[in-house]
Symmetry: none
DNA sequence: GATGAATGAGAGTTCATTCAT
DNA sequence: TATGAATGAACTCTCATTCAT
């Protein structure tokens, strides 16, 4: 395995564990034994557990953005492309891999002082808002830019609420509910 | 101090620490040193750390429900009483004690297997939905019962989203945004 | 309940726990909750856990001597009365309450320095040897006093081995085997 | 020090403490400070205290079997080789390291539920019975196989009784007594 | 005489990280 | 570069005993 392949392998292994068991509840030992590497090898690729956390967040977000954009693009232009974010979420929720939002999960586990992770998470959320703003811009051209921005934030709020609550209640009604509400404001 | 006073004292101390530092990052040692009691004293009052966690959640929720009901009741009957949940949240957010939702924070830190805490949290969220349903029922009597229930869930989603996102972004725009969206659907 | 009745109640409760769970593995809390008394009440009757241990040993030994003498006395005079110690043991072993020898069990759990308990146990064992010496003296009068003493000690050894090994192997072959060997030396 | 050397070092240190102070009365802290290693180092070599206990029992038994076989083999073939088990015991008793039987001592300290340790101990005892059966088979060839097995079990009982009682009474008369009785049944 | 709340000391175990090889 | 052994600090929890009431 090449150097970067090992790193990828570590990130994937750690991501699965962090996402499903939680950051603090996943030990370094678990990561290395799952990844089948030596402890020092892990520390050759990452300075600390926190660095792996950062890589985990980026890995998750990157895959997420790719997928959600894909799903939206697959729909016919117009309102449907906007509502597609909830179609994506519905599928995401039904996937056995679903365990809520990695950002929310992670931020809850870290001390307030940890600015490094916190700002990464804020950036990720901003990138989602940006995507939604573009999506609204492209598909609801009749609204003013200001209104588009306002709508994007509201959809973002609905999306975030739906992720968290479908996870918490283990039920997809929050997604349905958010979708309906979204539909009513973009018509 | 009487038995129950000590217990209350422990709950308050632990609650502050759990809420602000996180459950896993708060050690028993920190709780006892902050509370000024011996370790065994704590364990005379609580069987385990998890039991303290449960008491913490209940303490938080109880205070929360009291306060939000108070704020809503203080407004003039009608739409205002419904929107008041966001007034409450605005004040909550501005309080220096604000650190997001204790339920969301806590559930992120616990293993999936922990059904005891998870179901407490689900119950708390359901009690909020129930409150919102009553609130809508009393203040928006023109809607059908079914529509009232749907509205309550949507407001719940907006509220939850606003809590999480104002916390995450350290900014109150999500509250304002949720309030506006709420306003638009109840008019 | 009278003072001495409470004491008896504590001894019986503690004895059951000590005998079945072991001395160190039985906590004071377990004793009081099982006995239904307050912690300080226990300490009003016993200076320390060690004192309860002493009372436990004496309680066990006293009941044991009474019973074994009873069983032996119930047999027709002669060899049968001697072999009856193994009849007693057989019945003891089959009792669901059987958990080996309290003396051996207890001495294994205590530091060498604890002379108080150790000498109590040695006394108990000597009282058993004395009983066996009497038993042999009364039932095997053809042997010399010296031979009787030697026989008594050998029977004691066989008895002790049979108790320990039937307990360890959870099987009564050691009792049968000891009985046979005993039979062969007293004929 | 190599990995296995450290492990051996831990086993030896723990064995000495377990055997002389008892399993429950020996803390992990005592083992590590005596062994001069860090706590986590110990837990890198052993999963739990119970695992160290198992290694202790095996270490003791292995040394015991080696030694007793050696002593028996050193005698001239015949009755003497059988009686040699008590010669071994006599020497064992006189050794300042003598503290009774590790199996009996340990089993007394453990909860009934601990099948892992209990079965190890039963195995060890069975291996002793097997050795005695071989010994009798080789040195008392005139007896039938059945009689040999019966004899072996009786000698086992005598041996076990002698170990426990010499330890309890801190006197070697039980060994002498057992030896004589053994002598009388194999002639 | 009876209570139950409080305690200091210590239990076994796990953690992320480092370092010599 | 890759390793695995070693670590100090922290973890949750339990113990027998005491003391004010």
């Amino acid at each position: 395995m090449k150097h970067s392949e090992i790193k990828d392998h570590i990130i994937k292994t750690a991501s699965h564990l962090f996402y499903h068991k939680g950051y603090n509840l996943t030990g370094i030992n678990e990561i290395i034994s799952e990844a089948g590497i030596a402890k020092a090898t892990l520390y050759n690729h990452f300075k600390s557990k926190e660095d792996i956390c950062l890589a985990y967040l980026q890995y998750k977000n990157s895959a997420f953005l790719t997928k959600i954009k894909e799903v939206c693009a697959s729909k016919k232009k117009g309102i449907g492309q906007v509502l597609a974010v909830f179609d994506f979420l519905e599928a995401f929720f039904k996937d056995k891999d679903f365990n809520g939002c990695w950002c929310i999960n992670t931020i809850s586990e870290l001390p307030k002082e940890n600015q490094r992770i916190r700002s990464e998470i804020q950036q990720q959320k901003n990138s989602l808002i940006n995507f939604l703003t573009e999506l609204v811009g492209q598909n609801l051209p009749d609204h003013s830019t200001l209104e588009q921005q306002k709508l994007a934030k509201q959809i973002y709020l609905l999306y975030e609420g739906a992720v968290a609550e479908s996870h918490l209640h283990q039920n997809d009604w929050p997604i349905t509910s958010a979708r309906e509400l979204c539909n009513s404001i973009i018509n």
